[in-house]
């Protein structure tokens, strides 16, 4: 009984802790002069939202952000799944070297090498292009994804794959019937993390995209350099909607894939 009450309080508390800040930001975005210690803004207004939606590059930025996110998620998974499987299950020469290289982007801040990256991208004619931005976003995403997925593969182990092989499953079938359902938690976290990382890249996008590839952070981050809280709040909300949107799509895909596989 006491434990029950305790749990309920905890639940309510955690809801308040998650909903609370979002609510505050939402109110802020509609506020007109909201000064501490006032409980509520003096007036409400749509100014900030108007300013956000009047930005002529907003639609383009949204489109670009979604396109980049979708592409980066796809490429990251295409690269990371086999790489993680190999790192988890196979012994090969140079494995430690590759492991170290994969750690590097986590240890060295990418901004450290952004100039070299930019030079490279210019050389490959990828600077100031969507493709270049997508490629560069892989750098911070892939190492995380590989780490998460590798742990997933290691947790699952090889035995299920062997059982599947023995029952005649091809590489592709193994992927859909073993990897996808058994690694689903890892896949899900890898995707969510990738979405969040790529969506919030400002500096890499700015340098490699050269300001030409406008994404949400590109128009949003400069406002952090202002005192205009409602606009910042409005952008923040808009910004938060995207990962949630992606999350829904991912969840939808994951669910349908799982049910499809489970056909007897």
């Amino acid at each position: 009984m006491i434990k029950n009450i305790f749990l309920k309080t905890l639940l309510v508390l955690s809801i308040i802790l998650t909903i609370g800040p979002i609510l505050l930001v939402a109110i802020q975005s509609f506020s007109f002069r909201w000064v501490w210690p006032d409980l509520l803004p003096q007036r409400f207004g749509l100014r900030a939202w108007k300013a956000v939606f009047e930005d002529p590059s907003l639609l383009q930025a949204l489109g670009n952000s979604m396109m980049i996110t979708a592409a980066v998620v796809m490429l990251t998974m295409v690269i990371s799944m086999p790489a993680a499987r190999a790192l988890a299950f196979e012994q090969f020469k140079g494995k430690t070297v590759i492991e170290t290289i994969l750690m590097l982007p986590l240890l060295i801040p990418l901004l450290f090498i952004v100039m070299g990256l930019h030079l490279t991208m210019i050389r490959f004619n990828l600077a100031d292009t969507l493709a270049g931005v997508i490629l560069v976003h892989l750098l911070p995403c892939v190492p995380y994804a590989i780490r998460i997925l590798r742990t997933g593969y290691e947790r699952v182990g090889t035995k299920w794959y062997e059982q599947a092989i023995v029952l005649g499953a091809s590489r592709q079938k193994q992927f859909w019937t073993i990897t996808v359902p058994m690694l689903m938690p890892s896949i899900r976290s890898a995707i969510v993390l990738t979405v969040v990382i790529t969506l919030s890249q400002y500096a890499l996008t700015a340098i490699i995209g050269g300001g030409i590839i406008t994404t949400l952070p590109i128009i949003y981050y400069p406002y952090f350099n202002s005192a205009d809280q409602p606009i910042i709040a409005a952008f923040t909300l808009l910004f938060a909607v995207l990962p949630i949107l992606f999350w829904f799509v991912i969840e939808l895909i994951c669910r349908s894939v799982t049910t499809m596989i489970r056909q007897p």
């Binding site: 012994q91 092989i165 023995v166």
Partner: protein, 339 residues
Amino acid sequence: MENYIELKNITKHYNDQRIILDDLSLSMKKGEILSVVGPSGCGKTTLLRCMAGLEGHEGIMRMNGTDLSGRTDSRGIVLMFQDSLLFPHMTVLENVTYGLKMKKIVKRERIQSAREMLAKVDMSDHEKKFPYELSGGQQQRVALARALVTKPDLLLLDEPFSNLDQSLRYELRQYVRDVLVEEEVTALFITHDKEEASFMGDRLAVMGKGRIQQVGHPEVLSIQPCNPFVARFFSEGLVLEEGFIPTQKLTLIPSGSPSKDIQMEGEVVNESLEYGKKIYHIRVPHLAQTITIPSSEEHNFTKGTSITLKYTENNIHYFDEVRKIKKGGDGENEIVAYS
């Protein structure tokens, strides 16, 4: 009859270069159940993994005349692991249809075959359950159904009962053997339990030191081992340097009794009961061996008594290599030495 399965000169080592399978050869007839016994770590699992295509190896593997080298997904060989390894995210029915699905059998047919097979292993009532809802024995039965439903050309079973308690094991092995016979499956059954091996197999192979030491009917193996390894591991009796005397042919007499037969000194170190009969455990210092002999009505010995084992020259089954020499060395100059 033509051999259905033919393994020739299979050699296998893992990354550490230690040889696990050493020039191993083995053949099987169609519809035959062959048991393989051998001490732990002798490479039984490795052999099955090679046959199932999970490990690379050297040497030739043929099934029904076709070469199996190269890892293919559809070699028609199904391996049942030590653990049942039912896919935890699938129901019993989904598990059983898995192999058929991989063979692209249409849904209706595969469900029907799966149900039939589930009925055979007495698991029809559980098709909607998930593996964690089943007992260990039930899981093994589902795993068997999953393996059999694909009508494999060869079924490999790797100690499928080792994780079960004895009574369940006895029950299940009867079951499995019946199903295997009924389905006319060619099966290779692995165990390290001699008794289980003779129960399950039509024939029996003793494996050791990376190769098949002897293949034959269990009875033959127990009285006519071809070498000291088989004799020590499988047969019951006294292992001499040059041959073997089965327990039945040994007579136990009190120490010092006069006899014109060959005699071997021993000591009763222990006694136990089996099927209501007293069994003597006798150490033979001369051969550094301990053997078990059932008691007879004539004598009664107590623990610690010195005794004499006697047998005649005729009782000795000579090992292959000794026999070759005895025949006049018409074998290919083989070395007469036993390790």
